[in-house]
Symmetry: C2
Subunit: 328 residues, 2 copies
């Protein structure tokens, strides 16, 4: 394994990024965070300032010149910076192009002259596969990419450029295609949405779609361990580019997620209702089953099941978001 | 089939683009060309000014606002504008991102508000497949994309966004993955390179690699017919996104291409020599065999074999490039 020098984490102020930074610092790895947020907004990192050797660089991830000076002495780059909003009606019109792909291009250009070896792990998404036939489980390296949202297209595009630069510029690169990653402190996704709706109307949890959309939910703690396992696995496998699924070993339906949120809700017994339709929204995918086979082969195992990860997240979000003046 | 209204051809001043514009005008289709070249540099189109209803728009293909006004009354868009240089040492550092992907994003954004139906045919490349095992033939819809050059990554990325926009914004879209397209008037590629070298040294044709790199060569006349067949096939198949191989039914080696150029050389019998190595250059692919199965199912057939296409091209380039003051 490459001597573990400094790690650079792009998007290190985000939900997964900050958890990764915390784990690296805890293990004594010096970390440089690059994020577009100014330090005062990087609240997830504020408690880590004394936990180890942490430097913070507020930078425009799309600007090669801002990134170029940041990689001296770096052996590992965890590239998490990207548009994170799958719904194009919520993301900026071209955020997947400018931020997801543009940020990746700028990073890869900035790394061209950096000392080797450099190990780059980029987070991608299970959504690059698009809709797959009911009952299919997709394996790493065999799944055709059929991106049906701009978010997924941005991830597929960033993967394509990462593979090309790895081959043309001598990087060791790996992609982690993430399933739903959850945990205390997350601000978006189905659990946060359901919790918000419950506080608007404590009698009802309304689900988009028919509730049968099935997903793997991975605890952010397990995700962080998986991303570090991806770096190690890519190194031990050799080769300039490899793909890993970063997901749980099981999966649960949106209906079950709603049930868990309802069970954890301390102020009543909300009814679960459905807006109907097979898809949650245009571009959503009814069912997608990926398994973390490549990481399992390298000995990685998640500590929490999908249900446990969702429950811990729901409990934390319900506790945080409960109005302090509410009746209880 | 959608009533054939106006066609917009992006990159219409280029080698394939101008041939497509000529064919469309010949069939009475009004054509608007969008190209970054100013009209005076669009020499391939100058002879077509009186051949039909042709309008020319010199525009920055990456600027949504410049493109938005151009699609009124348009039923067909042929999107050929892109970086066309596969060798990253010759193309701009980020041309594949800014021009290939950025131009596609701007086009798709500009098309969001255009009247439907709009049929978009985009040219991509066989190189999106990357290296495939010796003897494999890749079929449409089954081949994994493994782009090993930034050029190929740009094409794969543009395809991903085209598929996503088609699904999210209601376009009918198709991709034509092109093999080597050749013909009189082309300025780059292996035949033009060999002709240039022959004029430098009439005694020798020096090939990169070992000469065994095998490719399908398609005459530009057949390519143009294929792109129009792609538009018709995508319409008759329905669906919002489909992929077609635009290539010949056969393939020949680089060695055979050199032999044909030597046979057509009027001023001697050059010796064919090799620089050695299995690859022509870093990122080149030793052997790649795709077949135009989807188009064959729709009745399309090329008129020229690979050998005939190469021979006609070599003859034309040798005639054009022969120094007028040279000994003969």
């Amino acid at each position: 394994m490459t001597r573990e020098g400094r790690a650079v984490v792009t998007g290190g102020a985000g939900f997964i990024g900050a958890a990764l930074v915390s784990a690296l610092l805890h293990d004594g790895v010096p970390v440089a965070v690059v994020d577009r947020a100014p330090w005062q907004d990087a609240v997830r990192l504020h408690g880590l300032a004394g936990a180890g050797e942490l430097t913070y660089h507020a930078a425009d991830m799309r600007d090669i010149e801002q990134l170029e000076p940041l990689f001296s002495g770096t052996t590992h780059v965890y590239h998490l910076s990207a548009n994170t909003e799958n719904r194009s009606d919520r993301a900026g019109r071209t955020a997947d192009f400018t931020d997801t792909v543009g940020g990746t291009i700028a990073l890869l250009e900035a790394l061209r002259e950096a000392p080797r070896p450099v190990n780059v792990v980029m987070t991608s998404s299970q959504l690059v596969y698009g809709p797959v036939p009911e009952g299919t489980t997709v394996a790493e390296g065999s799944g055709l990419l059929r991106p049906t949202t701009r978010f997924a297209a941005g991830k597929a595009a960033a993967e394509a450029f990462l593979e090309a630069y790895a081959n043309e510029c001598g990087l060791q690169a790996a992609v982690g295609r993430l399933s739903n990653v959850v945990g205390p402190g997350m601000g978006r996704g189905i659990i946060a949405d359901l919790v918000r709706r419950l506080h608007d109307d404590p009698g009802e949890i309304r689900l988009l779609g028919d509730g049968r959309q099935t997903r793997s939910y991975l605890h952010v703690r397990d995700c962080v361990a998986a991303l570090r396992a991806v770096a190690a696995a890519a190194e031990s496998d050799g080769g300039d580019f490899s793909v890993f699924h970063v997901c749980n070993q099981d999966a649960i339906s949106a209906h079950r997620v709603a049930e868990i949120v309802a069970e954890e809700f301390p102020d009543g017994t909300p009814e679960i209702t459905y807006e109907g339709g097979r898809q949650g929204w245009r571009g959503d995918i009814p069912s997608l089953l990926i398994r973390p086979e490549a990481l399992e082969e390298h000995g990685w195992r998640p500590r929490s099941t999908s249900e446990e990860a969702v429950r811990e997240t729901a409990r934390a979000l319900l506790a945080t978001r409960r109005p302090t003046t509410g009746a209880r």
